[in-house]
Symmetry: C2
Subunit: 437 residues, 2 copies
């Protein structure tokens, strides 16, 4: 096996992790591959900041062309993030016959088809293990090891920021706003945390996973994404009383009629599931295939080192594959482009779920009858209920767990209930996944 | 990509699963690969039994040579199990230039070096994802995705029979013998369960994992293996009082001085770890690398379908790799043969651990002082203790959790304690792993 030469675009946190890993573990990598991986060039607009790694003279440049058009470079690692110039750079690298390794889920969720098609035309690979779940090898597992399965469902905890916040709210009884502030100070949340806490980052990742699992195109904009900013510690406490934990879950499902679900929202899952014990900045994915059954993977979902591990793992895979014969080892979406389907995505109206509902009502007779009556009108049946003691302000929380119901009916019922005089503030709804298969 | 032609040796449970999978999911496999996988020949001594799958005329033969020496066959799948004739057949397939896919951990744990060397000489691959953890893609993860890491430790629940028995003992308070009998009737345990319950199967798998993680030869016979037959439901209950669950754990560790640990025994792990929630016939592996941090994978550890998924996943990987260029995609132990080390394996005497100890004593003053005195003589310090009420027979159980101590000291102390007049039956010892990194 011959030396593999790589160029790096983007020398931020993850890029620095990749350089450190290639330096510190050069011997490990050479022993596992039988040949070294050599970093030929790093391009970043900022060539001044000290990243704490020692570089050979001339390695760092502000000119991306020195990576993209360097005839010696076999593999371009894209760690710029975002849509542009990442998209143009990746397309140029492909056009120049280079394999690409990227951690950029936003880019692939939105421009994946264009990029994968360009790679297939050129006979090069686009590897993106680092784009979902950090160090968790879920992309390779779906494309390769579990590739003989028809997948039924995939569930993921894919955003470390959200999981960190929910974990602290769960363990410490703190409210969302306070924990978010702490997380920002500790570096676990961005100054503008919208992408993370509103579920957009998770939806980017889910778009990729759903395409890989079900062999279908997914329009990222059609994925329902609801974040965690409305979760209260009160809901977390009630969930525990029923034996559940609340996680921001990415959910993908394949139905017998060939329609699929792809949605992101806070979800109550039974606390005895291993997925419920995935705490802090950890990520996890659970996928169920027709032969393999359920498989779960768990690891650090982000961070310099775990992401670098996934990036370099992809580089090593490229070193092993039959590079240069013009035949890519695998397809972008893990499936022949002409076999990629256009499976219909169910609208949220048409999904069925169990629900956790929390109402804030006045303390007077007939309240429960009024609420349960409205639910009944929409064929929503109650599985269990908690009505704790009245609070100081005279408001009474009523918590109801329903049997499975249609989202359309649930929303209609809640709209009517929220109009009732006895209801003091808008009702809270959290979907429940009682079984993860 | 061209059609891949495979031959199958062994048409038992797993073999039948492979045939079913190749038939039922032929389209999925073709779409993911871009080319079909075609089964050309199946060899088994029993060509009469109906396995419930329909085969083309002439596919099944009692003559292994029709697989091994068939010039059309690219890949030989070995699912015979055991040492011979599996070893001879695998070596012959390699000599004939065929890639090999096997689920045979016993074969590789004992004859792996010979087999991998033969494959390297011939430029063919030996794939064995199915040999450890059934459908869990741990082998590929260690060799490829996480391959840039130096691994610090690996922990595995690798035997479904043992985990099923321990789970039922935990959930139902039943004793080992009763649950084993049930498990045998339900088909979760063999008529002769020794290999499983005494930890030998787990040790076979650990030998492979340790070689892959640490890049070292391991003499399987040197691995300490202690099974679960002496675990009582009383120990399980006490463990829970301290916040632990008992699992049969395979443990591999790398020490800073380059020595390694490889041991299999019942182990108490904190119940809030995801690994502690791995119940029933599920398997799980947790590995920690210097960059990726901890990664856990979880899935069905055995059974026709999950194992078949792993076997066919390996076949698909071979279809993707640069077959035919005489350069294998990866090394058997995931590391250049000349870089494979001879790291010293620590003897059990030299390991350090926390311990759970249960003594059965007479009910009289001074008992605790005598026991704790003996422990103190050997520098073993007590972390916590439970002494429940005396039992009907007058015996008093005393349960002690120790701080970290040397195994050598612990055994010496217990030998002396068991000689004391006040001790009524041999003391029970279970090792504790309080942190899995």
């Amino acid at each position: 096996m011959k030396e593999l030469k790589v160029g790096l675009l983007g020398f931020g946190t993850i890029g620095t992790g990749v350089v450190k890993l290639l330096q510190q573990n050069a011997e490990v990598i050479r022993n596992r591959l039988g040949a070294p991986v050599r970093l030929l060039k790093i391009a970043d607009l900022d060539i001044e900041t000290d990243r704490g790694v020692k570089l050979e003279e001339g390695l760092l440049t502000a000119d991306a062309e020195q990576v993209l058009s360097n005839p010696e470079i076999d593999v371009v690692i894209e760690l710029i993030g975002g849509y542009e110039p990442a998209r143009s750079f990746v397309l140029k690298a492909i056009a120049n016959g280079k394999h690409v390794v990227t951690a950029n889920k936003a880019l692939l969720a939105v421009h994946g088809e264009e990029i994968f098609a360009a790679a297939a035309d050129k006979g090069v690979e686009v590897m993106f293990e680092a784009s979902v779940g950090g160090g968790i090898p879920i992309i390779t597992s779906l494309k390769e090891n579990l590739g003989a399965n028809r997948f039924q469902s995939i569930f993921g905890i894919l955003n470390g920021t959200c999981n960190y916040i929910l974990t602290r709210m769960t363990n410490e009884g703190e409210e969302f706003a306070a924990v978010l502030k702490d997380a920002q100070q500790a570096g676990y949340a961005e100054a503008d945390p919208t992408f993370d806490i509103e579920g957009i980052d998770t939806a980017h990742k889910l778009a990729l996973l759903v395409s890989l699992c079900f062999g279908t195109r997914v329009d990222f904009k059609q994925i329902y994404a609801e974040g965690i900013s409305s979760i209260t510690s009160l809901d977390i406490q009630f969930a525990r009383q029923f034996g559940y934990k609340i996680k921001l879950l990415a959910i993908g499902k394949m139905h017998d009629n060939g329609s699929i679900e792809a949605r992101v929202h806070p979800t109550m899952i039974p606390e005895h599931y291993p997925l419920a014990d995935v705490d802090g900045v950890f990520n996890a994915v659970r996928v169920t295939g027709d032969f393999v059954g359920p498989v779960m993977q768990y690891g650090l979902g982000a961070g310099m080192n775990a992401t670098a591990s996934a990036v370099v793992g992809d580089v090593m895979s490229l070193a092993r594959s039959g590079r240069g014969n013009g035949e890519p080892r695998s397809y972008g979406y893990g499936c022949r482009p002409d076999a990629l389907q256009e499976l219909p995505l169910r609208s949220m109206d048409d999904i069925c779920s169990q629900y956790y509902l929390r109402f804030t009502t006045v303390d007077q007779p007939g309240v429960l009858a009024a609420i349960s009556g409205k639910l009944g009108e929409y064929r929503i049946s109650i599985a269990s209920m908690i009505q704790p003691e009245r609070r100081d302000d005279g408001a009474v929380p009523i918590v109801i767990m329903t049997h499975e119901a249609a989202e359309k009916d649930m929303r209609a019922a809640l709209a009517e209930i929220d109009q009732l005089q006895i209801v003091q503030s808008p009702s809270h709804l959290i979907r429940i996944e009682g079984s993860l298969d």
